[in-house]
């Protein structure tokens, strides 16, 4: 028997992940990180102490059984690791890439108390990528139950809900307004962080589960939620339409050409492929000097996209300090490496007109941190008389988003005072049979939180429809691995029946 691992016996340094050279990658859209090789993953797996109290599991919004999948990696059982992850999570290749792990699973890892935390996200990505490369998919035996379920929005919340309902035997259709599915994963997060092939592969698995995707469908306007429940015959509906409505600063000069939201920049670049203009028709403003306001993931993406499009200078303007920046730590680090110039404790007060309808620059004011506000962060206060002018020709606002108004305009769904859909603790809305989750309920959050919400809503929907997962243990009759023509690997552990 192997000796028990202790903090002293494990590899002390976190295993690095191979990355493109910052100078080269700042000019291309290829993925920044190459991911672990098998030997890297095995070494990193060594670092997990397999803690009995497993704090990391509680740190993950969907509760992936982290130590057991890591243990399987250590034994080179990648397929086993994949099975463990997919018992709870649907999109390992995506979450491994985009989760803010330092605030979630890795933030509470025991190893992190004395050394750098186990690189859970990187290991998860490694397993997810292996599954894509090998074509693994856990398609269970599904017994149709006759319920028709509609999902509005194909972001992580909608996808997660769709998968669970399909596995429960429902006939699931996902409606998406854009011409391609994926939500923010597709239009927001750029290729160099999350390649389209990864999204396609993960969505392909849903299609394998029998989920139908109907793109080009603006629910609310083409048909309403009430029509879905009524005349269209859906037994239940999940709304996961995201919180895309961008906030503008509301300072003088806001409407000048050259001022745009990060959503517009990223959608033009990622979804509409403006980076390949004019081979794709959609244009994009490419500034010489680009100032991005904000410091979240969206801001980092906007900056790094601008660099890759060929802008000479890219500035990050943020009214608080680096410690308060809401982006994933890795994104800030990557942006710094690639040459973004950060101006912490700086706030724009006016956009300056070039006299031709465009932008000449911006007036900013210096800030300092005062007393903590409601969010517990120290409130930035302007330093009197510290205004200064700043030269730039494109300004990108990445200062947050609000609830999209279409659902509220077109249905009887009750909204809260900020315009988000109001739900109870089971994610049920004010309309019977309609559930909601993800950014449209909580405001902008994270991919994994949205997925978690989609799954919780699915659980509520199953309860509402009277679908129960059987808790009879499932015994494999023989080791040949084939049952009803379904291979052992693909078997379903939780058969489903209608109460």
């Amino acid at each position: 028997m192997a000796k028990k691992k202790t903090i002293r016996t494990i590899p002390q340094e976190r295993t690095p992940m191979l990355e493109q050279d910052p100078r080269a990658r700042a000019k291309n859209f290829e993925e920044v990180s190459y991911g672990y090789r098998l030997q890297d993953a095995m070494r990193e797996a060594e670092r997990c102490l397999l803690c009995p109290d497993q704090p990391c599991i509680a740190g993950c919004p969907v509760g992936i059984d982290i130590p057991s999948f890591i243990e399987k990696i250590g034994k080179k059982d990648l397929r086993g690791a994949y099975d463990v992850i997919t018992a709870t999570s649907l999109l390992p290749a995506i979450c491994g890439r985009v989760c803010p792990q330092e605030n979630q699973c890795e933030g509470v890892c025991t190893v992190g108390e004395s050394l750098e935390a186990v690189a859970i996200g990187r290991l998860e990505r490694f397993v997810g990528d292996a599954a894509i490369a090998e074509g693994w998919a856990n398609i269970p035996y599904i017994e149709p139950n006759g319920f028709k379920v509609g999902i509005v929005g194909s972001g992580p919340a909608g996808i997660a809900c769709a998968a669970d309902m399909a596995k429960a035997g429902c006939d699931v259709t996902v409606f998406e307004a854009f011409h391609q599915p994926g939500g923010v994963l597709r239009y927001g997060i750029p290729d160099f962080r999350l390649p389209n092939e990864v999204i396609d592969a993960e969505i392909g698995k849903l299609v394998g589960l029998g989920v139908r995707f109907e793109c080009n469908t603006l629910v609310g306007r083409l048909f309403t939620i009430e029509q879905m429940i009524g005349e269209m015959g859906f037994s239940a509906v999940f709304v996961g339409t995201g919180a895309g409505y961008p906030t503008m600063l509301g300072i003088p000069g806001d409407s000048l050409n050259g001022v745009l939201s990060a959503n517009e920049l990223l959608t033009r670049c990622n979804l509409m492929r403006a980076k390949e203009f004019p081979n794709y028709d959609t244009p994009l403003p490419i500034g010489k000097r680009v100032a991005v306001i904000g410091s979240g993931n969206t801001a980092m993406d906007a900056m790094r996209v601008s660099l890759r499009l060929g802008s000479e200078k890219v500035y990050c303007i943020y009214r608080r300090s680096k410690a308060e920046a809401p982006a994933r730590a890795e994104e800030v680090h990557h942006a710094e490496e690639e040459g973004v110039e950060f101006h912490w404790l700086t706030n724009p007060v006016a956009v300056l007109d070039d006299g031709k309808g465009g932008v000449r620059g911006m007036t900013c004011i210096k800030m300092e941190l005062g007393e903590p506000d409601d969010s517990g962060r120290r409130r930035p206060v302007p330093v009197e008389g510290s205004e200064f002018d700043f030269e730039c020709d494109v300004i990108v606002y990445a200062i947050g988003t609000n609830a999209n108004p279409i659902m509220g305009q077109t249905s009887k769904l009750k909204l809260n005072k900020w315009g988000y859909i109001a739900t109870d603790e089971h994610l049920a809305t004010s309309v019977a049979g309609v559930f909601a989750g993800g950014d449209i309920v909580t405001g902008a959050a994270t991919v994994i939180e949205a997925m978690g919400a989609g799954r919780r809503a699915a659980a509520s929907m199953k309860a509402y429809l009277g679908i129960r997962d059987s808790n009879l243990p499932y015994v494999v009759p023989d080791e040949s691995g084939i049952l009803f023509g379904i291979p052992l690997r693909e078997r379903n552990f939780a058969r489903v029946r209608v109460a």
Binding site: A177, F178, H179, Y187, E214, C215, N216, T217, L218, R221, L222, F223, G244, Y245, P246, M248, G250, D254, S255, N257, L260, S261, N263, E264, T267, R268, M272, R273, F277, P278, N279, Y280, D281, T282, P283, L284, P285, G357, Y397, N404, P405, I406, Q409
Partner: protein, 295 residues
């Protein structure tokens, strides 16, 4: 949803054409004043187009398009009967509030005649006295005259050169209508921004409610990008979800016109790039033709 088949096409002039597209759900859902976003092919741009008519029985919607740039000119060439559009989504925007006005003037300028039509018809159906005012540069560009006239109690046609109807801009038509009818409740105008601005100015002094339909550049049409933002009084609105209809007396038209010029350089590039590839294609076709003949 995919495979949106073009079931009819009509050319009004060498720059304006009509496409009737099969989309039964949309035909059922569409209301006057709403628009769609179209991508003609996978590499295409998303362009907003007003739903100029819809037929629930046939399950089709009608678009009337003016070829102004790369996308609309390319569509003019490739969107033939029986072909399909890559994507079409909608109906977008808040339907026009068909008020209980008893007497309305419906103004359509140039291509704006098409999107004005469903509103004029809706007003007529709701029992209003409808005065139609349409304007074109000259007689050759006139289209849908009969269709429009059929839902109007009075009809004024204006041309820049006087080759049809009265000589002058639509504002002249509005002036005449106001002179004759002191009891006009509402004016609705659709056309190029300068025209709508003119209409709003023409009615301001008379304090007649004037609605206009704004056409800023758009990407998603779902309130996600903010590219379509317009200034209405001292508020900023997103035309795709808050509009596209707004109170013309509050609209900052100069801002709208400046913002429409955002991508002039790139639009030019796209057009040049496309025209050049068309020329190349023609040369290749000609060479192939010549080679065939030489054999």
């Amino acid at each position: 949803m995919s495979n949106f088949e073009i079931v009819a096409r009509e050319d009004f002039s060498d720059v304006t054409y009509l496409l009737e597209v099969r989309h039964p759900l949309m035909a059922k859902a569409a209301r006057p004043g709403q628009f769609v976003i179209v991508m003609s092919h996978e590499h295409g741009e998303r362009i907003p187009l007003t739903i100029a008519d819809f037929d629930q029985v046939k399950g089709t919607i009608t678009l009337v398009i003016q070829a102004v740039g790369k996308t609309t000119r390319e569509m003019q060439q490739v969107c033939k009967l029986g072909t399909t559009l890559y994507a079409i989504v909608g109906p977008m925007g808040v339907p026009s509030p068909i008020s209980h006005a008893k007497k309305v003037v419906c103004v359509g300028g140039g291509l704006g005649v098409a999107p004005m039509f469903p509103q004029a018809r809706a007003f007529k159906e709701s029992g209003a006295y409808v005065i139609g005012v349409v304007g074109f540069r000259n007689k050759d560009l006139v289209f849908w005259e009969d269709k429009f006239r059929a839902c109007c109690d009075e009809f004024i046609i204006c041309t820049d050169d006087g080759s049809a109807g009265i000589k002058g801009l639509v504002t002249e038509g509005i002036r005449q209508a106001i002179e004759k009818h002191p009891d006009i409740d509402e004016v609705v105008a659709i056309g190029p921004p300068v025209m709508m601005k003119g209409c709003a100015e023409a009615t301001r002094a008379h304090k007649i409610k004037t609605m206009v339909s704004l056409n800023p550049l758009m990407v998603d049409g779902t309130g996600m990008c903010g590219g379509c933002r317009v200034k209405i009084g001292d508020e900023v609105k997103f035309a795709c979800v808050d509009g596209p209809d707004f109170d013309g007396h509050l609209v900052d038209f100069d801002d709208l016109m400046t913002r429409l010029r955002r991508y002039t350089k790139e639009e030019r590039m796209a057009l040049d790039h496309w025209e050049q590839s068309c020329r190349l294609q023609k040369e290749i076709d000609a060479a192939a033709q010549a080679a065939l003949l030489a054999r």
